[in-house]
Symmetry: C2
Subunit: 241 residues, 2 copies
């Protein structure tokens, strides 16, 4: 059992959650708390608390006289950061990465447009700083340094949008970018065109040019999507008609 997670119930969660999201217990499977508690050598109270949390994530449903049933994938709370992390660590990571990148391509351009209208001077400054940091780390395999500034850049944009729902996607974007750098093939330095685009977005926001900030950010996210489709073409859904 994983040792991460605060407390016994936390450790249990870090074992059961990934197991379920990985399909180890496929949808429709029925688990029994008592049996699981014995198997993992924890008390029923600990197991019950873990099951409660899984239930709140819509991963399972607990019913009397039946047991704990794994719910169909379509019902899972896929916006829960913990669920996202579990799934990104699992086997169909490429598909997850693509879903999330498509989400980014919808959200971030709009967020950038709003950021151009609402960003404080401090946020503008931080944005410029991030962009410069990306430039400074764009050559010579300084991937960690580049990643750090890249993540922060997108976080600032999302926060500066002034929209709470956008702001909360900062962690998701961070996961995607980190995943891309660490787990995908990324031997080469980042695309110079992408770096330039970030610099220009920072400029557009500072200049309060919402339309330009939006369009440039759209180019960034669509670029990320194309890059992904080159690396893992099979994750792209087929086009009908």
């Amino acid at each position: 059992m994983s040792t991460r997670g605060r407390g016994l119930h936390g450790q249990l969660l870090e074992t059961l959650g990934p197991a379920i999201t990985a399909g180890e217990y496929p949808p429709g499977s029925v688990l029994r708390t008592d049996e699981l508690a014995q198997r993992f050598e924890v008390s029923r109270s600990v197991m019950r608390e873990a099951v409660r949390v899984l239930e709140s994530m819509h991963l399972v449903e607990s019913r009397r006289r039946v047991g704990v049933t794994v719910r169909p994938t379509a019902e899972w709370n896929v916006y829960d950061p913990q669920v996202i992390r579990w799934r990104l660590a699992g086997a169909d990571r490429p598909r997850q990465l693509r879903s999330l990148t498509v989400l980014r391509s919808a959200v971030e351009p709009v967020a950038a447009g709003l950021a151009a209208q609402h960003a404080t001077p401090e946020q503008c400054a931080e944005l410029t700083e991030c962009a410069l940091g990306m430039v400074a780390n764009s050559r010579g395999h300084q991937l960690e340094g580049y990643l750090f500034h890249d993540v922060n850049f997108h976080r600032v944009i999302l926060n500066a949008s002034g929209n709470e729902m956008f702001a909360r996607l900062g962690d998701v974007v961070a996961e995607v970018l980190t995943g891309r750098t660490h787990h995908e093939v990324m031997f080469e330095d980042p695309d110079p065109a992408a770096v330039t685009l970030h610099v220009r977005v920072a400029e557009a926001v500072r200049a309060r040019d919402a339309a330009r900030a939006e369009e440039l950010t759209r180019e960034i996210t669509l670029g990320a999507l194309e890059e992904l489709d080159i690396l893992a073409p099979n994750a792209r859904p087929a086009t009908t008609g």
Copy 2:
């Protein structure tokens, strides 16, 4: 205590969740499980399970020797459907509605564009059916019938996009639309222009015209946003610079 929710712990959750999201226990407040268990006349196990769930929603943090601390608003899992429902039922409902509508305006146009590429013939048919249903209920105060088809229309679009993250926003959109019809001022029949736009989106999807589907959907969501700003102008964040 609310009687909704399965089981005692569920009822407790339906009491504590809304109380916390409504700011009744402001961020930083410290609760003690024993005290709460006494107050609500439940056993500690039940209270502990409820707290676990609140913790998984990042509404509270539980620490030994300290107690259960309410976390700052910015850390809440605002994409959790239950949290969304609690907040929409609370005092700052207008602000929530606006945040969610802005999210819609970012996501739905892109989803519609993808739907035009990926929708199955069945989904195209259902879309048309929904649009016709909206037309049929657009006059003479048939608000419930109109709402039903409206919700379904947007659900089909999000599902047909083929993107899991988009699809899971169907419930959110349903909440927003339902809230707009039931709780906001909506004496008059729906805007005829909006109805027409829905019909045209259905046509565009059927014709596999992604660009047009996207643009028309953008008009729908931006219209919804404007409508909201007329009804509750104070929920709109100030523009800097």
